[in-house]
């Protein structure tokens, strides 16, 4: 299998720069602080809505706008497509489990990585937990695939 980054010398630098802007935004907006996320979930500060939907609007303009200009990405040659996943039981079940974890801790993956960047070493408990959780579901579902269930991609 060819690694995706072997396609163009600027691929990895561009991904890094994108991550840099993304992470700076999470720091600046205080999403890297679990307390701020919990304040939103407890209806004490609704700022998170500006972050998530602000980011979604920029992404939406990009995803729908670029298709009018060109059809393929310069660094990969891949066709610009929307991020569409099949809506099934797993989206609701997984979303529910994620919701319990998010509500309990105030952390989600991107914000947890950013939290480490602002010096919050305590977040390593959370990141370790995420790897344990990702491993557990992969362990269960890899076992399930051997009895005939097909895999679905996700991010």
């Amino acid at each position: 299998m060819t690694a995706e980054h072997e396609q163009h010398p600027l691929f990895l630098p561009l991904v890094f720069v994108g991550g840099l802007i993304f992470g700076f935004g999470l720091g600046f907006s205080h999403m890297a602080q679990p307390e701020i996320v919990l304040n939103f979930l407890q209806f004490e500060d609704f700022g998170l809505l500006f972050v998530m939907f602000g980011a979604a609007v920029v992404t939406g303009i990009t995803v729908f706008g670029i298709k009018r200009v060109r059809s393929e990405a310069p660094l990969t040659g891949a066709v610009y497509t929307r991020r569409l996943k099949q809506l099934d039981r797993n989206v609701i079940l997984g979303g529910g489990i994620f919701g319990v974890g998010w509500g309990l801790s105030g952390i989600c993956p991107g914000a947890a990585y950013a939290s480490l960047g602002i010096g919050n070493v305590v977040i390593l408990y959370g990141i370790a937990g995420m790897f344990v959780g990702a491993y557990l579901q992969g362990y269960w579902r890899s076992a399930g695939e051997e009895s005939g269930t097909s895999p679905t991609a996700a991010d």
């Binding site: 993304f22 919990l38 602000g54 920029v58 952390i107 602002i118 937990g129």
Partner: protein
């Protein structure tokens, strides 16, 4: 009168202001947009968990992400580095702006001339919550960035359902945890 009421309501809903949230959100979107424009990849943050496990586990669930695992490590390192740039500039006070809001939660601590931020949320909440986040985001096909930013930006019905589900459940759980007196 109406203006006063309006200002009072905004202050109540957004006690720390709006500008840093709006600017941060635009930057998060810009980061996703930069990667998407160059590569056509809508980058979410949670696949990193499984793709990175493919370095150490042969299970099929993880090996399916083998082709993307290297750039996902780079993306995550970029996120950590970007937040560190924020910490070295605004958080440490070397750069300031009226649009920026200093931290009002957790603990700011001076370390060798720089300011780091530490959460006061208890480790057991982070670890247990993290386990559920790890299971849920992977089973549910996305997290706050995959579904919430890339999926909603793509007008995906699965993402609308995913976001509505995790938002409502998280609100219920966070309020319940607060009601039983767990703080922070």
């Amino acid at each position: 009168m109406i203006t006063t009421l309006h200002v009072a309501m905004v202050a109540e809903l957004f006690p720390t202001g709006i500008s840093h949230y709006a600017i941060g959100g635009l930057l998060v979107g810009l980061g996703v947009a930069v990667i998407y424009l160059g590569t056509a990849i809508p980058a979410g943050a949670s696949t990193f968990l499984e793709s990175t496990l493919s370095y150490v586990s042969d299970r099929s669930r993880f090996q399916q992400y083998r082709a993307s695992r290297d750039w996902r490590v780079v993306f995550t390192l970029g996120i950590v580095a970007g937040a560190a740039v924020y910490a070295l500039t605004f958080q440490s006070g070397f750069v300031s702006s009226s649009l920026h809001q200093p931290a009002t939660t957790g603990e700011l601590r001076e370390v060798g001339g720089l300011t780091i931020w530490l959460t006061e949320v208890q480790p057991w909440r982070l670890f247990l919550g993290g386990i559920l986040v790890g299971i849920g985001t992977r089973l549910g096909k996305g997290c706050t960035s995959g579904h919430g930013v890339c999926g909603v930006g793509s007008a995906s019905s699965a993402s609308f359902v995913g976001v509505a589900t995790f938002l409502l459940v998280a609100i219920g759980v966070a309020q319940l945890v607060q009601a039983v007196g767990v703080n922070p």
